[in-house]
Symmetry: C2
Subunit: 204 residues, 2 copies
DNA sequence: CGGTAAGCTGACGACATGACAGGACAAGTA
DNA sequence: TACTTGTCCTGTCATGTCGTCAGCTTACCG
């Protein structure tokens, strides 16, 4: 619906919005500030987006598309022995770095979803689903082989574990407040993940 | 600093703000709406609070004070055998209901903390600390008795587990999206909590 | 009752929002 | 180069919120 030049300014507005979200509270992000930063006027912003929230949804959509790479972290992976421990470490690593790269927009998506906005919930479900799905599969397979507790719900356990990882990822600065060293975080998350999936302590 | 009548309108403004936060997105909560709902004028609002955020901090402080009851859930509790399973169930239950009762304000506190606002981080630390502290103690004690893995960090594990519980609590509506029944949630959270604290599967 | 202080509000300048009409600009044509 | 065309951008305006102040109202006390 827009030409080459139009696409460029539209993209620039999105980029500036993203920067804005990283540097100031969501509540205080104003159309006029985004427009100024992009070297354009508020009227231009409204030509491409209904409001700030609308533009944020675009950013979130883009992020959700990129998040498909997350599912590779957990699909068709083994969860036994040392290889299983490595799987856990890689999932933790992958999630944490994805969250670090997209923390601003993920924060807003989380808020929107928590407030009950279906559009944000859907995006959040897509991002998390990329991980919880394969994880739940793995747990299910372990169950059918008798290698995991049979009276747990793979979906609930996988969802809860992923919630743990993303929540910690989103509040990484807060980690020190509860008295844990920053370097402790990753290995202990991997430990809990392995434990949750397999029901056993990891053999490192 | 204020007489009887002043305290009353101040409190009324806070109550209305809380209702506002429950019913509309944080981003859209306006001083004028809060004032109108409280049957007063915007100018009155500014007499008691510097802005919406300032009033939210008051609400959050109040909530943090009430959260001290949470620490009783996890202090001096046993984590062995069936009694341990009951401990886990009660911690999950207590946290989930506290979150359900205060979801609106907790949402905003989480956002503020994630955005790096020290005032919100402090409040969040106080609320979570009431649970993570005792939990970490329990894990430490189990460790010294040789009943838990010795190369984990009690603080990191406790913090991560509490993050999991609060994150799931804050997105309860989303739980169905990952394909788990609502009734599955609590027992599976208790399972993961028990597993994380003790390193063993629960004996129910 | 009358006086005093605490509490509330109308009104105002400044600023953000969102809509429109018309101006600026790139690209193609002669 | 001058002209045309369609896309893209912005000046401007009505509306509404923000945050402040002077002044009015209310409650309380002697």
């Amino acid at each position: 619906m827009a030409g080459r030049r139009g696409q460029a300014t539209r993209q620039k507005l999105l980029t500036c919005l993203d920067e804005m979200l990283s540097s100031s509270p969501y509540r205080d992000v104003r159309v006029i500030d985004v427009a100024r930063r992009a070297g354009t006027s508020p009227a231009t912003f409204y030509q491409y987006f209904p409001d700030v929230e609308g533009a944020v949804l675009e950013l979130a959509d883009e992020m959700a598309r990129e998040s498909s790479s997350l599912s590779e972290l957990a699909t068709d992976r083994t969860w036994t022995g040392k290889a299983g421990w490595q799987t856990a470490e890689e999932v933790v690593d992958g999630l944490l770095s994805f969250w670090r790269e997209n923390d601003a927009i993920l924060r807003v998506v989380d808020l929107g979803a928590a407030e009950g906005d279906k559009r944000f919930s859907k995006i959040r479900a897509k991002v998390l689903g990329g991980i919880t799905g394969p994880l739940a599969d793995s747990i299910g397979k372990l169950q059918s082989k008798g290698k995991a507790d049979s009276d747990i719900s793979p979906a609930a356990v996988a969802g809860s574990l992923v919630s743990m990882l993303t929540s910690v990822a989103g509040q990484q600065k807060a980690a020190q407040s509860w008295g844990a060293k920053k370097s402790d975080l990753k290995p202990n998350l991997a430990y809990l993940l392995y434990l949750g999936v397999t029901g056993r302590k990891p053999s490192r």
